[in-house]
């Protein structure tokens, strides 16, 4: 996946790190800390450079990639009245919030683990501006509005869009942005808003952001910029060019997404070490239909087809246990590891309705992956899991084509017969997803 979200804290840290290169003339104090508990916050306050935590009124909120924290009542900025939150209050609030699962208005739920704490910036609603940039079709688009804060979505018609084609030169970019500064930005801020917007766009562009939004920001006296809230996604394919500029940046899992299971983590780690592609997502550990599909496109059509046939034959999407792929010419060893991981997962639970398990070893006609070689890995995994697979009444359907497929299909059929596994094997003469029909229509 190319676009990855980063924490608000890390986004602000990137601004601070490159501030002088882009925003000279403006000031940014970067008073922010990222903590995982109240205790850590109190400790931070004792460090040199973080005295402000004890001296200034604070704002605290979770920093876990989800938005609408205000509407979810997850921003601490007042006890009695805005700006009266002390260090101790913030620490206590953090410990309370992280002590129980939280469900957002969107339905996502999970534990809060990361919090950003910053000084409270007194300002009025009309001082809040909005700016963001992203890619639409093939162009960058810069969005600017005098109406920032929580109201920006209700006032989206007041947002000005500037389209910036990829090959536009810097002079034209600057002209275009300046010419389009929203008319309702007050006169006293117009000039510096324009300068800030131009710098913002270049910062977004040069640091390979896929999405960058400050909502709101406030322009204080002395050209001080207060970044009150920020959302950012980076194009992680640019990581190899951005090592110095990004530093060692973290790409956290989205809130509410279950942390990876140990098996998914193991496959992800194996994937990172090989030139081939190994992917595994467990959709339902109790599911009946398990897939081991070669190829990204094929894995999608198998999932599509399983959903179609499961629903048409009295089952449901819950029957589909996993999604994933192995492709790009994995070694025999890598394939064995991948297969054993799936065999292990699928033989942990009996089907609640007492039905037999189904294993789909599918794939399109490979371009260059040696089918016999990868099937050798699956056969080795069969040897180790044959008894368990039989215990679950596993019915195996194989369909594959490509280099050396005849040998691969013959080998896997022989091995399964020898081990007493129930298997049906098909080649390119059978439609790629037809084994799904056979598997699911058969047993109603």
């Amino acid at each position: 996946m190319a676009q990855k979200a980063i924490r608000e804290y890390d986004g602000k840290a990137l601004f601070a790190k490159h501030w002088e290169d882009y925003f000279s003339g403006f000031h940014y104090a970067f008073k922010s800390v990222l903590v995982t508990s109240g205790e850590e916050l109190l400790k931070k306050a004792e460090e040199h450079g973080f005295e402000w935590l004890k001296q200034e009124p604070l704002v605290a909120k979770p920093d876990m990639l989800f938005g609408k924290r205000g509407k979810n009542d997850l921003v601490l900025f007042k006890k009695e009245k805005p700006g009266d939150v002390t260090l101790e209050d913030a620490a206590k609030w953090i410990d309370e919030k992280r002590s129980h699962p939280v469900t957002l208005l969107s339905g996502q739920s999970g534990m809060l683990t990361h919090f950003i704490v910053e000084p409270f910036t007194p300002h009025t609603q009309d001082q809040e501006y909005y700016i963001s940039a992203t890619v639409v079709d093939e162009d960058d688009v810069l969005y600017m509005s005098a109406e920032g804060g929580m109201e920006v979505e209700e006032n989206w018609d007041k947002v000005v869009e500037v389209r910036i084609p990829i090959d536009m030169d810097d002079t034209s970019i600057e002209k275009e942005i300046r010419a389009n500064v929203p008319a309702d930005i007050p006169e006293k801020d117009r000039e510096r808003f324009a300068s800030f917007a131009v710098a913002f766009y270049k910062f977004y562009r040069d640091l390979n952001f896929a999405y960058l939004e400050i909502n709101p920001f406030v322009m204080l006296d002395n050209n001080e910029i207060a970044i009150l809230d920020l959302v950012a996604r980076l194009d992680d394919t640019a990581g190899f060019m951005m090592k110095d500029k990004w530093g060692n940046i973290e790409f956290p899992t989205a809130f509410g997404m279950e942390e990876l299971s140990p098996e998914e983590k193991a496959i992800a780690e194996a994937d990172a070490k090989t030139g081939a592609s190994l992917k595994l997502t467990i959709l339902n550990p109790m599911g009946r239909v398990w897939t081991m599909v070669a190829g990204g496109g094929a894995s999608v059509v198998y999932a599509d087809t399983i959903a179609d046939f499961a629903e048409a034959n009295g089952g449901s999407i819950a029957d589909l246990a996993n999604y994933g792929e192995y492709s790009g010419g994995p070694t025999t060893g890598e394939t064995k590891f991948y297969a054993e991981t799936i065999f292990d997962l699928m033989t942990r639970h009996k089907d609640p309705k007492g039905r037999n398990k189904i294993l789909i070893i599918g794939g399109a006609i490979a371009n260059f992956t040696d089918v016999a070689k990868t099937f050798t890995g699956i056969i080795q995994a069969f040897e180790n899991y044959a008894e368990k697979l039989k215990e679950h009444g596993t019915k195996i359907y194989v369909r594959r084509g490509g280099p050396n497929y005849e040998k691969g299909l013959k080998d896997i059929k022989e091995a399964a017969d020898r081990l007493g596994l129930d298997i049906e094997v098909y080649g390119p003469e059978t439609h790629v997803t037809d084994i799904v029909r056979m598997a699911l229509e058969e047993k109603k």
Binding site: V135, D308, A364, G402
Partner: protein, 605 residues
């Protein structure tokens, strides 16, 4: 551009991906192409000049270049670039090739090129009218004409999927793996494809579905199209628009994969980087419905796709739009083939008469052919037919260096060996083994250093200074007794010939300015015969159109010394035969001609 590729299309393959290139050449052989579809390979870190590949049972050589510019300059007809660079360098390779120009189609295989770079690359290509296939693709194919790298898989699969000859379908997919699958489906349920493109899985690809389909609309071989889309993105809507406004009139069968995504709210990435639905409009279900609504043939599920294709095909066949396709004769790739251990590119003795670089020996040997030893050397050493002024010069050089009396070390060695009772060949090689940096080697050295000075625009004074710093006397300068006043007649002859017959003598002119300076220091520091030959050889090659790099290679490989070796062998053999004729006895050097200075060895304890 009606057709993406023809049977004459040739590509430059960036990266020495031997398996993929062999697959292309196997395909070429099977479909009986006349020329290989890969004209050249670019491999920046390779020191090879060529790479051998099978062509049927035989082998052919594909030239290897260090950079795209050289490859393109040598193969201007190759207008397809197959960019197999990694995601780190693929952008630079594409941009450089766009700059060089002359490419009509570029295919980029790398997955995960930074999005900003991919956008820039695609926009630049579009502006220049270059069709980009990819990034993140397995490529494209025009069955019976040209196939990119691994697309279609093995030769067996290609034949099974009827990818060896043009059918009637224009196929576009995102996925490379499913491209093969669709080709197979179309072969089974219809008559194969006329042109197919896997556009690539990244979010930003160069040519999209609509770009390729608009071309296929104009391609008379394409009678209908099959589109396999994916969840995410809005590219399919551009196709719908084109159907609605009449830019696409041929029947289209289409399906978007990824209907599964509706069952999972978020977080699971189904398929490629480009496949993430950000809005309802981008879901597979919405796109399938919209396509159906626009009159595109959309099955109920992917599993029913073969049936729909077959229905559309059957109707077109019944209407006579699609005719029967004659199955062409194809070549078979032999099961067992062996790489050859030796390569010969200069002569061939397999035919009726042996040839020198393609010329039967009789056509260059007898006097009536007007050919000389110079001509034979130009054929066997340089694989070119040199003009007469050049072959005459070579002949002059051979004659000039043939002998220089019995006292020089090589001749002396040959004579001593002959007197020891050894054969002609043994005596000859003894003499030849003397040739090197101190004997005869000045030809190489002169060419090398004078050319270096000239290439770097050194003034004669700078050149002298440079050689002084190197600690080497200038090769080709100086004679035992000759001077400007008492010139070497051999040198005069060579210079006169060159001035009269060479198109230009730039290096000789430079060398003469150097000579002016050296002789002003010492009278006998003249340009000698070795120097003159070396320098004029460079001038000859320059005038014959060789590049400076090629000439440098001649110098480095010792080509210049070869003229000396051939010429002087004539003299050596003369001296050897002379010894035999005179029946000279074993030679023993007089003891009074040796300074004996032998001390008793010290014992080390």
């Amino acid at each position: 551009m009606e057709r993406l590729f023809t049977r004459d299309t040739q590509a430059i393959f960036w990266n020495n991906n031997k398996t993929a290139i062999q697959r292309m050449l196997d395909y070429d052989y099977v479909i009986k192409r006349e020329t290989p579809s890969v004209a050249a390979i670019v491999a920046p870190t390779s020191s090879n000049k060529f790479e051998k590949f099978f062509w049927g049972a035989d082998e052919i050589m594909v030239p290897v270049y260090k950079n795209t510019a050289d490859a393109k300059a040598a193969n201007p007809q190759a207008d397809v670039l197959l960019n197999f660079a990694s995601f780190r360098t693929a952008y630079d390779v594409t941009m450089e090739a766009l700059e060089i120009g002359g490419f009509r189609v570029m295919m980029i295989t790398a997955e995960g090129i930074p999005e900003r770079l991919a956008r820039k690359m695609n926009a630049t290509a579009r502006k220049l009218g270059v069709t980009v296939i990819g990034p993140a693709t397995v490529g494209a194919i025009a069955p019976g004409a040209f196939k990119i790298a691994n697309i279609g898989g093995t030769i067996e699969n290609i034949i099974n999927s009827k990818l060896h000859r043009a059918g009637s379908c224009g196929l576009v997919t995102r996925s490379g793996g499913l491209f093969n699958e669709l080709s197979n489906i179309i072969a089974i349920n219809a008559d194969g494809i006329a042109e197919g493109v896997a556009i690539g899985g990244d979010r930003f690809v160069g040519s999209t579905f609509i770009d390729n389909m608009l071309r296929m609309e104009k391609n008379p071989d394409v009678k209908y199209m099959v589109l396999l889309g994916e969840v995410g993105g809005t590219e399919e809507y551009k196709v719908i628009e084109a159907v609605k406004d009449g830019r696409l009139t041929k029947p289209i069968v289409a399906w978007c994969i990824g209907t599964i995504a509706k069952h999972f709210s978020s977080g699971v990435q189904f398929g490629h980087a480009g496949a993430s639905a950000n809005a309802e409009r981008e879901t597979a279900a919405a796109k399938n419905a919209a396509m159906k609504e626009a009159g595109i043939y959309v099955p109920d599920s992917f599993n029913d796709l073969p049936k729909t294709i077959n229905e559309v095909y059957t109707v077109l066949k019944a209407e006579g739009v699609i005719k029967d396709i004659p199955e062409p004769e194809i070549n078979k790739i032999p099961k067992h083939r062996r790489p050859k251990h030796f390569v010969c590119t200069i002569s061939d003795d397999r035919g009726e008469e042996a040839t020198y670089a393609g010329f039967p020996i009789s056509s260059v040997a007898t006097p009536d052919t007007g050919k000389t030893i110079g001509d034979v050397i130009s054929l066997l050493w340089f694989k070119k037919v040199y003009p007469k002024w050049a072959t005459d010069f070579i002949e002059t050089v051979i004659k000039t260096v043939a002998d220089h009396g019995p006292a020089v070390s090589g001749a002396h060695n040959a004579k001593v060996t002959a007197r020891a009772g050894k054969s002609v060949v043994e005596s000859l090689v003894t003499g030849l083994l003397t040739i090197g940096p101190r004997f005869g080697g000045a030809i190489d050295g002169a060419a090398q250093y004078f050319k270096y000075a000239d290439d770097n625009n050194m003034t004669p004074a700078e050149f002298l200074n440079y050689m002084k710093k190197q600690g080497i006397p200038i090769p080709g300068i100086g004679h035992r007794i000759k001077s400007l006043k008492n010139p070497d007649k051999r040198v005069e002859g060579l210079k006169k010939y060159a001035k009269e017959f060479f198109p230009s003598t730039s290096l000789l002119d430079y060398a003469l300015t150097v000579e002016q300076l050296t002789t002003s220091k010492k009278e006998n520091l003249i340009l000698n015969v070795d120097g003159t030959i070396g320098i004029l050889m460079v001038d000859m090659w320059r005038a014959l159109g060789y590049s400076e790099e090629e000439i440098n290679e001649f110098i480095e490989s010792g080509t210049l010394n070869s003229f000396f070796i051939v010429g002087r062998s004539i003299g050596f053999i003369g001296h050897i035969l002379d010894e035999k004729r005179l029946a000279m006895p074993m030679y023993r050097h007089p003891m009074d001609d040796i300074l004996y200075n032998v001390e008793k060895a010290e014992e080390i304890k």
